[in-house]
Every structure is written in structure tokens, then in C-alpha cells.
């Protein structure tokens, strides 16, 4: 029975990620168009919503080109690593509180791992292999440069990402993501939700910056920087394999938005709902909806930032990572420790 439930949850999560990616690509194109005083895709389907589906069909029809001296096996493997990593991170993210279905307690997360955050950090660090191997196996200087940049960038930013999470963990006292969310479902002074964004603003900033760098989004999209590196690591990819990279990029965006929501915006916590009497089942649905709404807002923030800030230069990126973000995250850990020591 539990296996069946798990399978249902996995299918639900993967299909909802895929659907979200389709809508997200459309949303990104529409928002970017509106920010540039254009209209954007609005012909295929209502408001152009089916534009992405049409593009997917086009990508599937395209020829798969592999460069002459490329390492074929690794060239094929790289997008699979990317997409696998992008999807498997979502396994430990709670998208709702426990729900009672057909007399059974169902926890709304796929895997209840007791080191949830460590799992996320470990899996997202694997993502760099996809990009680096793609860049290396393509036998193309631009791809190689993109791959090198991505490995340097990801390693630098993973450190500040991990350190900024430590502050959150010190407050929560646990690595379980569902416990971290539950910990945030209280109030400071009786009215302000105890979300970690209010308790750990510095950690929030450093984590969001690191998340941008980890997902290769502008202003940190150096691995694919179109004006300098043609397409970066995916220069030599076409057809379905390019589609996989594209899908992985957006799936990563969704995953990191979900992580940001879970760690800093109280996950599925709907503020002030506990003062209203509501049936438990409806409440659970509402919490899932809240989670989705929060993730959507973070995603929109991702998109809006992309079309607002210019790309960093490589040395600026490294300076920011090592000279600003790392000390900031360290100082945050120290300050949090002091405060916890004093208040206990």
C-alpha cells in the first residue's frame, strides 16, 4: 500500500513539474516581452499558452547532431545527469502537511529523509557534472569554456549556500524539512509569522544569490552566456538532448524556488489560518495551494530579476562569491550562534 502511495506521489510530482515547466517557459517569455514593451507569444492557444507545447514538438522532430570528435557516450550521458538531478531533488520537499486519505495518513512529500537538507545539497552538487561533462565531451572550445565556468561557479557558490543554510538549521535544530516548516508555523510577538526570512534575512539574501548561481540564471548565467560563448556547454546539443538541458534548467528553477519557499517562506504555512475553523481535508488542500502560490511568486521573482540585471563578469562573479557571500554567510552563522546562546 505504501509503495502504491509513493508511486502515486512520484507520478504526481513529476507530472506537475513538467506541466509547470511548460507554463513557466510561456510565463518567462510573456513577462520578458511585457517588460520590454512587447507582447510576446499570444497566437498558439489561449494567450499563447500552447506555444511551449508547439516548441516541444518542434524539438522532438529535430535531428540529433553529435560533433565529429565528440565523446559520444558522455555526450549522451550529460543531459541525463542534468535532468535526473533536477528531478530527484524534489523528493524531499514537503508540499503540504500530512493529509488523511481513505483512512490512511499520507505525508505530502515523497521521501521522509532525516537528513533532507544534506540530501538536497548533495544532489544539487551532482548537477555540475552534467554541465561540465557536456562542455568537455562536445569537443568545442566554447562548450569547454562553459563547462569550466560552470564548475568553478558552482563550487564557489555551493559553499556560501551551505553556510547560509546553517543559520536556518541552528534555529530549527533539525535537518528534516518538514520539521523546519513546522517550526516556522508559529508567530513572533503574536502576529508576525516566524518565517525564516524575518529571522534570518542575511541568510536569505546569501541563499537566494547562491541559488541564482546554482541554477545558472542571470545575472550568473556565465556557463551559457550567449554573447560570449555561443551557447556555452550546450552549444553542440540539438533536438531532444538540448530539450533535456532546457527542461533541466527550468526544473532546477522550480526546485530551488521550492527550497527557498520551504526554508525561508514557511513552506505550506498559511498565516492566520489556524484562527479560522476549517475541515482538516480542506485545510490540507489549502496548504498545498499556499505552497504552490509561494513557489510561483519566487519563480516570478527569478524571471523578473533575469530581465532586470545584466550579467556579471567572471572576476566579479568570483569576487562576489568568495569576498562577499562567504564572509557574510560565516558572519551570519556566528551572529546566529551568539543570539541562540544568549537567549537560551
Amino acid at each position: 500500500m505504501t509503495v502504491l502511495i509513493d508511486i502515486i506521489k512520484i507520478v504526481f510530482i513529476i507530472s506537475s513539474i513538467l506541466t509547470t515547466v511548460v507554463v513557466l517557459v510561456w510565463l518567462e517569455r510573456r513577462i520578458s516581452a511585457f517588460m520590454q514593451d512587447r507582447i510576446g507569444p499570444n497566437r498558439v492557444g489561449p494567450f499563447g499558452l500552447l506555444q511551449t507545447s508547439a516548441d516541444v514538438v518542434k524539438l522532438l522532430m529535430k535531428e540529433d547532431i553529435v560533433p565529429k570528435n565528440a565523446f559520444k557516450a558522455i555526450h549522451d550521458l550529460a543531459p541525463i545527469i542534468s535532468i535526473g538531478v533536477a528531478f530527484s531533488t524534489f523528493a524531499v520537499i514537503p508540499f503540504g502537511n500530512t493529509i488523511e486519505l481513505f483512512g490512511e495518513q499520507v505525508q505530502l512529500m515523497i521521501a521522509d529523509v532525516n537528513v533532507g537538507i544534506l540530501y538536497i545539497l548533495a544532489i544539487t552538487s551532482l548537477g555540475v557534472y552534467g554541465l561540465t561533462l557536456a562542455g568537455w565531451s562536445s569537443n568545442n572550445k566554447y562548450s569547454l569554456l562553459g563547462g569550466l565556468r560552470s564548475s568553478a561557479q558552482m563550487i564557489s557558490y555551493e559553499i556560501s549556500m551551505g553556510l547560509s543554510i546553517i543559520g536556518v538549521l541552528m534555529i530549527a535544530g533539525t535537518l528534516r524539512l518538514d520539521q523546519i516548516v513546522l517550526r516556522q508555523a508559529s508567530y513572533i510577538g503574536g502576529w508576525l509569522p516566524a518565517w525564516n526570512i524575518f529571522l534570518q534575512p542575511v541568510a536569505f539574501v546569501t541563499f537566494v544569490v547562491a541559488a541564482f548561481a546554482e541554477t545558472n540564471r542571470l545575472p550568473f548565467d556565465l556557463p551559457e552566456a550567449e554573447p560570449e560563448l555561443v551557447g556555452g556547454y550546450h552549444t553542440e546539443y540539438s533536438g531532444l538532448k538540448f530539450g533535456l538541458f532546457f527542461l533541466a534548467e527550468y526544473a532546477n528553477m522550480i526546485t530551488s524556488s521550492a527550497i527557498i519557499t520551504t526554508l525561508f517562506f514557511g513552506g505550506w504555512h498559511f498565516p492566520y489560518i489556524d484562527s479560522v475553523s476549517i475541515s482538516p481535508f480542506l485545510l490540507s488542500l489549502l496548504q498545498v495551494g499556499t505552497f504552490c502560490a509561494k513557489v510561483t511568486l519566487v519563480l516570478v521573482f527569478f524571471i523578473v530579476i533575469r530581465w532586470t540585471l545584466p550579467r556579471f563578469r567572471y572576476d566579479q562573479l568570483m569576487n562576489l562569491g568568495w569576498k562577499v557571500m562567504l564572509p557574510l554567510a560565516l558572519a551570519n552563522v556566528l551572529a546566529t550562534g551568539f543570539v541562540i546562546l544568549l537567549t537560551q
Binding site: 517588460m35 514593451d37 530579476i305 540585471l309
Partner: protein
């Protein structure tokens, strides 16, 4: 020369600029405000661009009282930098005495410079506001008198513009 040019670069950022986050918010305010602004896109086949009278579309011959103004002097043909215009003159009983038997503009060659219009002593060839020119082959692109002649009433905007500014 190049060395004497001075590049002024503002290096000393203020404290709030160095913190970067207020500046990001400022940038976000600008980009977000554009979301609600009027869009400059024309949804082309449904919604067409109406050019101003100063627009140089395809050259046309002005038709007045059922006949063309052109007296077949051939100046347009001489001035045309792309050699797109071909005129053959003949005599007529009308007051103007000469008229073009054949007047052809090769629209593949035309570069829309408007020299023909400028040089014309009779204001007989002018640039219209039409810009949708599609052909399937080279022969179709040679516009004869049948396609070039347009009644003056339809061209009054451009004629008015020429009267004012030429």
C-alpha cells in the same frame, strides 16, 4: 587621436550603491513599471501600420481626369540610381502633347530613394504609403502602367506633404 580621448569612469560608489540591494530594487522598479506600459508591437496581419505622409512607399503615377500627369520627359528614368524605371514616350492630342506609352518600374530593383519623385517637374510620380510588396517571380515584379496609376484623390496626403515641405 585615440590616446587623447579621456574615459571618465565613476569608481567611487556610495555606501548604499555598494550594498547593491537598494540598487537592485531600483532596477526592479523600472522594469516592473514597463509591464503596465503601452506595448509598441503591431499584431501585423490583424493590425497594420499606417505610415505617415513622409513615408516613402512604392512609387506610383498620379492619375488625374482619367489620364496620367506624366509627360514622359524621362527625367525619373535618368536619375534612378538603380536603373529601375523604363519610359517610352509618344504624342497625344491632349494639352500636354506627350504621354508615356510604356512606363515600367522594376520593383526588385527599386531602392525607394525617392529621387524620381524629387526630380519630376509635373509631380506625376510620387512615393505612396504602400509597403506590402510580394511577388512570386521576377516578371511579376515589373509593374506596368496598370499597377502604377493611382487616382490623385487617393494620394492627397502625400501630395499635400510635398506641397508643404518640398
Amino acid at each position: 587621436m585615440a590616446s587623447s580621448r579621456q574615459i571618465i569612469r565613476k569608481k567611487d560608489l556610495g555606501f548604499w550603491e555598494k550594498i547593491y540591494i537598494p540598487e537592485i530594487l531600483r532596477g526592479l522598479r523600472i522594469t516592473l513599471s514597463h509591464i503596465f506600459k503601452k506595448k509598441s508591437t503591431y499584431q501585423y496581419p490583424d493590425e497594420r501600420f499606417k505610415p505617415p505622409p513622409s513615408f516613402r512607399g512604392r512609387p506610383v503615377l498620379v492619375e488625374e481626369h482619367g489620364t496620367e500627369r506624366c509627360v514622359a520627359c524621362g527625367l525619373c528614368s535618368r536619375v534612378c540610381p538603380a536603373l529601375a524605371i523604363e519610359v517610352q514616350a509618344s504624342e497625344t492630342e491632349l494639352e500636354k502633347e506627350r504621354y508615356p506609352v510604356k512606363f515600367e518600374i522594376n520593383m526588385v530593383r527599386c531602392i525607394f530613394c525617392g529621387f524620381c519623385e524629387e526630380v519630376c517637374p509635373e509631380e506625376a510620380i510620387i512615393m505612396s504609403q504602400e509597403y506590402e510588396l510580394v511577388f512570386n517571380n521576377q516578371e511579376e515584379a515589373v509593374f506596368g502602367k496598370d499597377k502604377l496609376l493611382i487616382p490623385a484623390e487617393q494620394l492627397h496626403e502625400r501630395l499635400e506633404f510635398l506641397r508643404q515641405y518640398r
